[in-house]
Symmetry: C2
């Protein structure tokens, strides 16, 4: 895989150039894309032109090639949202996060595959770790492109588990920042209280570097790792849904982090948090029925049966139930604040297990949805494997707005398990 | 003015029909629109077709004609956002709040004038109360159309004071619901933490009825008014910016409400709230620079000098300042929650005074921006006048999520001052 942070350092020091890195990426794409299918749109010619811009090496992203999930608007490339309804659609403006990425010196090379409106209908993308396995979803193309070494960086989004899950399945770092750290405007909305823009990179320091560059916050942790952090191991009330591989990975990560000085203890989530897990779907689906109501009304026959049925059912959610769910979420956020008074980070499952074999499903968000609803930062840490050799991730969850700390803990866990 | 609630009742009881109400509206438009200039787009033919739909009388809105501020997307009418950049622009989908309005049985007759991207550059709209006066902004067309009796209902939006201010200047009811009670998706974003969809109608009961119908919440207060509510009179640290007219109106409203059984007392806002007032602009402008960054970069010469200069300056706001402003807002929301433990509603100025004469400015949001930032419901109550005979509004502010109570207090104040 390509390290964004290392490549940028190499560009800045003159050891390489944006154009050379782009050619490296182009060669990797030529070698792997036909098998992996990570891109909906590729525009290497425009990228080459952009990579020649004077002064690019000195920008925060130093001209690094970036992939953009095709759920985010781009003014110079079609944006299809993974749906035939939007075939050939050309948005008038860049999503602000895309504009921020370009302004930071990122060179957009293409749009990456997304499931239909970032929901559950699988894409054509294959898992680069083994091509007969699912890459997960919905940010399938972004995770797979980074895993295959075709990109050092890619933007994705998460409404349930769409960053952490594909990162875990493909064995890359996925970072879902604090809600709205990266603006969601120009993302095709599924659920406005949940949709979150995230990043994929090789290692924790790479996504931290990229988030720093794009968002202009002090997140570039470099070699820094958290010192003796208090890490709560959280298995949740849904622990039985986690496979032996997932339990083994969580155990291994906890022990490795402990050996590196982390203070590890088990934590049962307060009732208020477990209650919130159950109502993620109510918030998501009530809003999705409104967000995609027009598509359902006027283009319903071009939705997948999966999404069409889901949206039709979602229309029946009473507003009172939704309002109650939002109150439940608010209480849970307070309870989580109390938890984080005592711990620096939570370590939990990224997914129920390694990637599913075949392409019938993109996997489950059962260990992600609560953290999306809470809006707190979450990072998939890669490096461990299942019995079948496929990657198994573990998830570091941090306090709302304390992304740097979450990244530093994730980097410690990463260093520990990859040592 | 046309009462939405009464008209809907008349339609349901068979005393009139959606088609007859539409013709009444068409006649008023024919009589006043050339002077007032409230509409960007009018499509009475499509509205007539929609008004003939079978079963319309039995819908929540009973086929009432509705105007939609031209900052909200409509799939069947151009949407210009008040900017030449979007001349002739046809969005692919209805904004969800427009779809909800249609689904509730509202008949969209046209798009109403908005200032450029709902910021400060005045529109061509004139104040129906006196044509040489500003109607306020940014929802100028919606407020003016209702004031002129051209519409019983109109949708508007508020990021600073864009619902309450024009309602006050035009002498109509303006209702800014709790943040996100009406979805903002499909509104051209200025500031995602502030943009709020609101409603204009003749009286408080009319906007309550319409919000109930559109949002499906129990907000239709009918003849109900709050019983002996505790009302805090809040003049704020900016009281000196309010004109003698505004002070007199607030005094008169307070005394009238007291005579109707309200428990009235003066309240100085806690420091945390006064501090938040000062940072509304930081939140708004940081987000506006991202939301409209593409227009600034690629179509800057087609922005008004006012907005272009504002956005350019906004780009210089450091992320840390913005993050700090958001923390200030969060603290203020907690402090406001404490205030509302002791009071049922706040009564304050809607604007510094009556509408400005001439069209150089749409007026000031100085008495609105804090409540927009807090996300709590606010209602302009009409019925009082300045020395020059122009309307002066007073503003009822309620607790976050307690819109029904806020409306019931507003209805009491309205009954008191119009008695």
């Amino acid at each position: 895989m390509l390290s964004a942070r290392d490549l940028a350092a190499d560009i800045r020091s003159g050891r390489t150039t944006p154009e050379a890195v782009l050619e490296q990426v182009a060669a990797a794409i030529a070698a792997h894309e036909s098998e992996v299918g990570a891109f909906v749109t590729l525009d290497l010619d425009s990228a080459r032109a952009a990579a020649r811009a004077p002064g690019l090496a000195a920008t925060p992203l130093s001209g690094l090639p970036v992939g953009v999930k095709d759920i985010l608007d781009t003014r110079d490339m079609p944006t299809t949202y993974g749906s035939p309804i939007y075939a050939g659609y050309r948005p008038r403006t860049d999503a602000p996060v895309v504009a921020m990425t370009r302004r930071a010196g990122g060179v957009v090379v293409g749009k990456t595959e997304t499931t239909e409106f970032a929901f559950l209908q699988p894409t054509r993308t294959r898992n680069p770790r083994r091509l007969t396995f699912s890459p997960g979803g919905s940010s399938a193309g972004s995770a797979a492109a980074v895993a295959a070494g075709m990109l050092p960086l890619a933007l994705g989004t998460q409404t349930g588990g769409s960053v952490i899950r594909p990162a875990a399945f493909c064995g890359v770092t996925g970072y879902k920042p604090t809600f709205r750290l990266l603006p969601t405007l120009g993302m095709k909305t599924f659920s406005w209280h949940l949709d979150t823009v995230g990043l994929f990179g090789a290692r924790v320091r790479d996504v931290a570097f990229a988030a720093d560059a794009i968002a202009g916050r002090g997140l570039d942790i470099g070699e820094e790792t958290a010192e003796a952090p208090r890490i709560a191991i959280v298995r949740t009330a849904r622990a039985s849904a986690a496979s032996p591989d997932a339990h083994a990975a969580l155990e291994a990560a906890a022990r490795a982090a402990e050996a590196r000085g982390a203070r590890i203890f088990d934590l049962e989530l307060p009732e208020a948090l477990e209650a919130a897990d159950a109502i993620h779907g109510t918030v998501q689906d009530f809003e999705a029925a409104l967000s995609l109501g027009d598509e359902l009304d006027y283009d319903g026959d071009r939705l997948s049966p999966l999404l069409r049925g889901h949206l039709k059912a979602a229309r029946a959610i009473p507003p009172d139930l939704y309002d109650g769910a939002r109150r439940t979420a608010k209480r849970a956020r307070h309870a989580l604040g109390d938890v984080f008074a005592e711990v620096d980070a939570i370590l939990t499952f990224s997914a129920p297990g390694p990637a599913p074999e075949g392409f019938a499903t993109t996997g489950s968000a059962i260990f992600n949805r609560l953290w999306t609803l809470m809006g707190c930062p979450a990072i998939n840490v890669a490096g461990l494997s299942a019995a079948n050799g496929m990657p198994v991730g573990v998830q570091v969850v941090g306090r709302f707005g304390r992304d740097r700390q979450a990244l530093a803990v994730a980097s410690l866990v990463e260093a520990a398990i990859t040592a």
